[in-house]
Amino acid sequence: MLNAKLNLNPDIFTKKIEMKLMRDGFGHGLLEAGEQDERIVALTADLKESTKVNYFADKFPERFIEVGVAEQNLVTIASGLANFGKIPFATSYAIFSPGRNWEQIRTTIGIDGYPVKIIGAQSGLNIGHYGVTHQGLEDIALAQVIPSMNVVAPSDYNEAKKATLEMAKIDKPFYMRLPRIESPVYTTEKSPFKIGKANILTESKKPEVAIIAYGLMVYQALLAYKELEKNGIETIVINMHTIKPLDEEVVIRYAKLTNAIMTIEEHQVIGGLGSVVSQTLSKNFPVHMEMLGVQDRFGQSGKPDELFKEYGLAKEDIIKSIKKLIAKKNA
């Protein structure tokens, strides 16, 4: 059953559930953070509206900087602003930032640990028709390999807003990825959210598998959970909205409880959540694992659902993999 302590949306599994953009969650969060702290400034690389930094820009034009289509400049100017004492939010698409400007992020933000917040919108397969060149499927790997970097991937509008507000107050560099499409707002304003602390969305006395996911894949996992529950298979769904620092305690605890862990992500499995969860478990408590995600492939054009199916991230794929995992652990 759903974890009652999390105050999840009562409409979570109904057609009435509200659909909203996580990007709007970021945009509204940034506006609020900007009202609270005048050190906050925002930058974009010719993507003001689609990154939703426009809400902040309209309210605080004097604290908004347009750098043009220049992602290397975007993050190095942000580094300079932070060096001076500002808290910059640098917005672009995941594929370009941290894709095109990785070394600049490492050198000018990472090494000295400046509190620059890098926002990578339009991440994942879900950007659909734009195709392979614009599908950021490697951004989390690129960001998390930088030693001082924190990496967050919210799973709905409310979380994107809460994550933005929280990271604005933390004196460290952050990368936050955001998808393009609207997604079900399955949490509420009252749902707890703390960077670095995973949310356990479901409870069970005898769970067979723990599913760990972030971003759009959390709701996919919840749909799989619901269907499996009808068939008498109980699972724990964990929203790992912070990939770095990883909530290792939760990963280990649920590995011990279930002996079977599945990760799901709209990202390359190499260097993504699958990799880090597996690293944690290899060191602490090895169990059977399945890692759903993009398996060392490039993306392509299509509708989000078509792509999720092609890359093994549809609800049916999740259910199939869970059954496989259960068979493996019972063998």
């Binding site: 400034v41 004097e62 580094s79 300079g80 602003l81 070394e103 000018t108 090494i111």
Partner: protein, 282 residues
């Protein structure tokens, strides 16, 4: 206090001697560019910059961002002479645990403005500092030193456009125009000329100087302070390896340490200046 040109020349000579000894001890380094920028760095730290070696985090200090981090031996040596840290630290450059890392690392030496080395990013960072300062109506000036070779980097031109667009008049860029880079002469590797016209067309004020003439360096920096319309670039024509005859203008000395014999010869030449420097006023 005010320094005469002769005094600045003497300091430069000492700094050059230190640089050769530092690179000799480290067995690694970039002597040509380091020796070439000594006069500019000495002028900045002794005459131009508003700063306090005892209070390196003074919030109203002028900032000096070193984009071409590989010439850090020169900056370190000038900072040591100016009292930022003990002189003996210089000879631990690049050694394990040294405050003077092989490329500038602010984690080890807080009085550096930035960590740098990878080329093409320093001007962007300085743009961020200058932009933030203007937002908060701060009066300090942000100086940036970059090499000519790093104009090959796209990131640098992104920043040139940005500073021009935003009329960052509190920003002064000093280009070390020494015409060499690792693989040879800049005009063979990737021609930069007409460099002055390029900056002009991006909305900058431009000043062309002899980077070894203290008077010209001082007057260019003072002029830059008085320009309120746009950012200023000072193209400082320098001689790579300045002061050491066999290193001057030779790209082979861009990133090569001298051996013992070469270092001794170099130091002798610096002490006498080998007759290579036109004394001030002549």
């Amino acid at each position: 206090m005010k320094y005469t040109t002769e005094e600045l020349q003497e300091i430069s000579k000492e700094v050059r001697k230190d640089i050769i000894e530092m690179i000799l001890k480290a067995g690694y380094g970039h002597p040509a560019g380091s020796l070439g920028m000594v006069d500019v760095l000495v002028t900045l730290y002794y005459v131009i910059l508003l700063h306090d070696p005892k209070k390196p985090d003074w919030e109203d200090r002028d900032r000096l961002v070193l984009s071409n981090g590989h010439i850090c031996p020169a900056r370190y040596a000038v900072m040591a002479h100016r009292g930022y840290f003990e002189h003996k630290e210089l000879f631990k450059i690049g050694k394990f645990g040294s405050i003077l890392q092989g490329h500038p690392d602010k984690r080890f030496l807080k009085s550096l403005e930035t960590t740098s080395g990878p080329l093409g990013s320093g001007l962007s960072q300085a743009c961020g500092v200058a932009y933030g300062a203007r937002m908060d109506k701060k009066r300090f000036r942000t100086f940036v030193i970059c090499s000519d070779g790093e104009h090959n980097e796209g990131n640098h031109w992104e920043a040139v456009m940005f500073a021009g667009k935003n009329n960052l008049s509190n920003l002064t860029l000093i280009v070390d125009r020494n015409n060499i880079q690792i693989d040879g002469h800049t005009e063979d590797i990737m021609p930069l000329e007409p460099l002055l016209d390029k900056y002009k067309s991006f909305g900058w004020s431009v000043i062309d100087i002899d980077g070894h003439n203290f008077d010209e360096i001082v007057s260019a920096c003072s002029k830059a302070r008085s320009i309120f319309e746009n950012p200023t670039v000072i193209i400082a024509h320098t001689i790579p390896g300045m002061g050491v005859d066999f290193m001057e203008n030779n790209p082979n000395w861009h990133a090569k340490a001298p051996n013992d014999i070469e270092a001794k010869k170099a130091i002798m030449e610096i002490r006498t200046m080998g007759g290579k420097v036109t004394p001030y006023g002549e």
